[in-house]
Symmetry: D2
Subunit: 135 residues, 4 copies
Amino acid sequence: MRHTYTCQVRWSDVDAYGHVNNVTYFEYYQEARIAFLYDLGAWAVEAGSEQLVVARLTVDYRRPILFRAEPFAIDSWVTRIGTSSFDVRSQIRDGHEVLSSAVAVLVGFDSRTARSRPVNADERAVLTSVLEPER
Amino acid sequence: MRHTYTCQVRWSDVDAYGHVNNVTYFEYYQEARIAFLYDLGAWAVEAGSEQLVVARLTVDYRRPILFRAEPFAIDSWVTRIGTSSFDVRSQIRDGHEVLSSAVAVLVGFDSRTARSRPVNADERAVLTSVLEPER
Amino acid sequence: MRHTYTCQVRWSDVDAYGHVNNVTYFEYYQEARIAFLYDLGAWAVEAGSEQLVVARLTVDYRRPILFRAEPFAIDSWVTRIGTSSFDVRSQIRDGHEVLSSAVAVLVGFDSRTARSRPVNADERAVLTSVLEPER
Amino acid sequence: MRHTYTCQVRWSDVDAYGHVNNVTYFEYYQEARIAFLYDLGAWAVEAGSEQLVVARLTVDYRRPILFRAEPFAIDSWVTRIGTSSFDVRSQIRDGHEVLSSAVAVLVGFDSRTARSRPVNADERAVLTSVLEPER
């Protein structure tokens, strides 16, 4: 089960080459990931000092994204759940065509101890519901 | 006495026309204004619930700003001190040539009452030291 | 007749105070203005070397904009048509409440001569259709 | 031999958590990489239709970057030169402490054929001068 975020391109996102700037993809993926985790309830279960932080982001560029009124779709799902971290895979799509793909590694973080913490039982439950491991 | 901020253009600031985007000017002016007020000590005197908020910003565009390694200068000074607000005038310069000009109206704000408040005596003292009224 | 643009707040738009950053308002207004002029056909009539450039932007801040999934509305209309320039007034709304207001002065520009030019007859026709002069 | 770029944090780069936003790291790395390739002359040798495009970007987050007047350093060097692509490694430093690390995969691209192309002899020469392979 994949989450779909509707991504509206801003004219300000377009750089001197007339394409959405490489940097802006990270903004798009961040918006999609926040909506994904929020809708999933993984932020509702993040209680008190138990937070989630991004440890690593990787973006693959395939085809340029151009400015247009019609939005693009960004699908997100979980590909790995470890002891204290998990992976979110996202794809920017125009219909069936994948324009870019990304992986974010998120880590459980305890703001009281300022150290990493295990993924808790509530998080594990909701994340497992959208788990789609990669071969 | 005018404050000078050194403004480094980022390639990301440049839009599809090859110029620094209109929107980015506001980012430049914001950076210059924060540095100005900070260096002036107007933020040091802003104590407890007594804050400053921007009520209005106006930017005039004269000449395009192009990407280059050499930074531009942004001069700032105060042109008006009223009862509960004051004006900061700023200019983006390339040597002696003014590329753009702006005015920000800043208002004293009390975060406890969530209402505007008078410019206090400490603020008035430092602001007066850089006052250069416009005809 | 006012044009309405649907403005989706991005989490990236929010600053250290938890509000949409002052600078981002200019991005919102730029997006709304481009959509307005495009839908109006004022960009269709902008032919060859006859362009429109922004000469001045003024933004008034009234109430903070907070991050939320539900979009805000930005209304735009024309308040003045001069010989070689015109004014676009825009407002960011949450239902009936106006959160911010802006005026952009747009100027006809001839890229061949690199000088200002009169608003042409086609532009004047479409702009007049959305003219709502301010008292 | 590593290239060092001086990175000035803007107040606008700081998000609702009071840290430089995750997304902005990509802007920093982009600025550093452009300066690196430009100073290296890898853009001077990029002639006519022979361009370089980013195929993949990975960023590791270690410690938050906070707003301050003093700039940070971003070091860049080449870690791999393949047939039609090469890797640029970059690190954001505060003195000796590494705050974040990144790898960009750049690919030779021919804008005439719209296909990838081999790294040419001139590019290979300058890139080899800053090559520092990873174990």
